[in-house]
């Protein structure tokens, strides 16, 4: 059951947005060069979104609980894989394959924190904190706010990844050495993957703008699909033959493969061995750019529908 609140009629929703634009234009023309200042407003919104995301994700809890939560949770995720290997063979942890599996699982934390976090923030702000209407009328586009929340998610995700990798190096003897990492390759690969995660989060955020509270499972479903299809914890060669082409069009498949090559010196999937490091980066870049464009279009389209239908500040209770 939808509870409509102020300004939620189609006309008023669109009107308020238009009114905001008019107001922005008026102020910014007065200051001169509205495009530049609009970007500056966007930067402020991005920064505030990042700060807010960090506060919600970390500071709104007991520091001890947050520390335990930050350390135990990712380590437990990694240890599940460790025991799955150990139960089959005591020597399994020293196999090169385990290092690939562990690494892929560690970096997947970005998907959880960035993609799922970014999309979830719409439901959180709209349904639980009831602040979305105020956020929406801020100067600066919605994308900036979402990008800010993505930055906070990336910071928390990076914390999880570092904890997992350090744990793997110290306690599991994984062959991870800072000196051996191909940093000039690693950094752009990492960045492109995080951008792809943020883009998918934006598309899902758009879907959440027009769906009820129960839609929170969409991002889990998408993340679950990526976990299975991108070869995060096994080579994609083991997937059924008809699934493998789907894997190859996903940027995350190339992202994980690139990260493995940068950190461990070689990839995992035999079916991706034909691609050089440069080709992996190029394919990742191409698929990520395509994904960003598609996802932004989805967000803008859904935002338009939400405005037209007056859904922006609806608390659905559903």
């Amino acid at each position: 059951m939808a509870v409509k609140t102020t300004g939620s009629s189609p006309s008023s929703g669109a009107g308020s947005r238009d009114g905001r634009r008019a107001s922005d234009s008026h102020l910014l023309r007065g200051a001169g060069g509205w495009h530049v200042l609009r970007q500056a407003g966007g930067w402020h919104v991005l920064r505030t979104g990042a700060w807010l995301g960090w506060q919600i994700g970390s500071n709104w809890t007991d520091p001890f609980l947050f520390a335990v939560y930050s350390i135990f949770r990712p380590v437990a995720q990694g240890l599940i894989l460790v025991f799955m290997y150990l139960v089959i063979s005591r020597d399994a942890l020293s196999s090169p394959m385990f290092a690939h599996v562990y690494l892929g699982n560690a970096f997947f934390a970005f998907v959880g924190q960035v993609m799922m976090g970014v999309s979830w923030c719409i439901l959180e702000d709209r349904e639980f904190f009831r602040t979305f209407r105020y956020i929406y009328i801020l100067p600066g586009r919605l994308q900036w706010y979402i990008t800010g929340r993505a930055a906070a998610g990336a910071a928390i995700g990076a914390l999880s990844v570092v904890i997992l990798l350090v744990f793997g190096r110290l306690f599991l003897g994984l062959p991870l050495h800072l000196a051996r990492v191909n940093w000039p390759y690693f950094l752009p690969v990492l960045l492109l993957g995080v951008v792809a995660c943020a883009a998918m989060g934006m598309a899902l955020a758009g879907v959440y703008l027009i769906s009820a509270r129960h839609g929170g499972a969409y991002s889990e479903a998408v993340a679950g699909l990526f976990y299975v299809l991108a070869g995060v914890v096994y080579p994609i060669d083991i997937l059924p033959a008809w699934v493998q082409p789907v894997s190859r069009v996903l940027p995350l498949t190339w992202w994980v493969e690139g990260l493995r090559r940068a950190c461990l010196g070689h990839g995992m999937a035999a079916s991706l061995a034909w691609a050089s490091d440069g080709m992996i980066l190029a394919i990742l870049l191409g698929t990520a750019v395509l994904l960003v464009l598609v996802c932004l279009a989805v967000l803008v389209g859904c935002e338009r529908v939400a405005r037209q239908r007056g859904l922006l500040d609806v608390a659905t209770f559903h």
Partner: protein, 308 residues
């Protein structure tokens, strides 16, 4: 593994007052019938229990997208683990272990988000004070939550189990079906008893309930051996993890359901008996935790404060 969770979406149907449930509220029946004899108090509590369970039971099929996601999501997570075992050429029985563990994980997620965090969500939606002013035992409310949750989650878990088993051709043995059913039910009662304890304790932690629920996902998946036989943790670590009823319950179910299990921590019958003891312990603990929470409600008056 993708989190199954935030996510603890508060059940929307439950945001509505219990008066919407069949039979009306206890207060209503008191107005109609008058007295407060032991018999009528029992009837009122049973009505409250059913009223609280009702929204979960009927909600099971009301929103079909929930049914879809709650069935398919656990399978998605499980698929990845199945392929891990296959990639390291593990015996095929491990596929069954993972499928069963993935299906049973739905109960743990429900205990965290559908039991532990529910009073907190109720507080946020203004529902909690209605429970406190209703002339019924709070245990009836928690009991209703637990019963409704069991029904709701069983539908999901069964769907995930059937889907996963069909997809990967898992074979089960049926010669110990009786003990398997008893073990499963005892485990559920003990587990939801623990969930009732959580409901009170999480509420006291305010919005940290969210973090607590998140915190108790993967570490418990690890400690309970959802995706590998718990014996791999070592006997004492596994025994310690036995405070969560799913540890021994799942281990017993695996021993009883798979032909060449042979990796159990204790004999299945012993594990079922221990869980029966835990069930009593947690139900008593839930009553004590509720009383503690109520004392705080009267003394500090902060249980109805939102956003804390």
């Amino acid at each position: 593994m993708p989190e199954s969770s935030p996510r603890g979406i508060p059940e929307s149907a439950e945001a509505y007052p219990t008066g919407a449930a069949p039979g009306g509220t206890a207060a209503h029946s008191m107005r109609r019938g008058g007295g407060h004899s032991a018999g009528s108090y029992l009837v009122d509590n049973l009505r409250a229990l059913w009223g609280r369970a009702y929204v979960r039971v009927v909600g099971t099929n009301r929103e079909l997208s929930w049914l879809f996601f709650d069935t398919v999501l656990p399978v998605l997570g499980v698929v990845a683990y199945v392929y891990i075992y296959r990639s390291i050429k593990a015996p095929e029985v491990f596929v069954g272990y993972v499928i069963l563990g993935g299906a049973i994980s739905a109960y743990w997620l429900h205990v965290l988000w559908g039991m532990g965090s529910t009073f907190y969500f109720d507080k946020q939606s203004g529902q909690l004070e209605l429970f406190f002013v209703a002339p019924i035992s709070r245990m009836a409310i928690l009991g209703g939550m637990a019963f409704g949750g069991m029904v709701q989650t069983t539908v999901r878990a069964a769907g995930a189990l059937i889907l996963g088993s069909l997809a990967f051709g898992v074979k089960y043995r049926t010669d110990a079906l009786g003990l398997l059913v008893v073990g499963f039910l005892v485990t559920l009662i003990a587990l939801y008893g623990l969930g009732m304890v959580f409901a009170s304790l999480f509420l006291l932690h305010g919005r940290e309930a969210w973090h607590l629920s998140n915190l108790l996902q993967e570490p418990i998946f690890l400690l309970c051996g959802f995706y590998f036989p718990v014996r791999a943790l070592g006997f004492w670590a596994a025994a310690l993890a036995g405070v969560v009823p799913l540890t021994l319950g799942l281990d017993a179910l695996r021993q009883l359901a798979f032909a060449d299990a042979g990796m159990g921590l204790l004999p299945a019958g012993v594990e079922v008996a221990i869980n029966a003891g835990l069930a009593v312990l947690y139900l008593v603990g839930a009553a004590l935790a509720l009383a503690h929470m109520e004392r705080i409600a009267k003394r500090e008056g902060r249980l109805t404060m939102r956003w804390q």
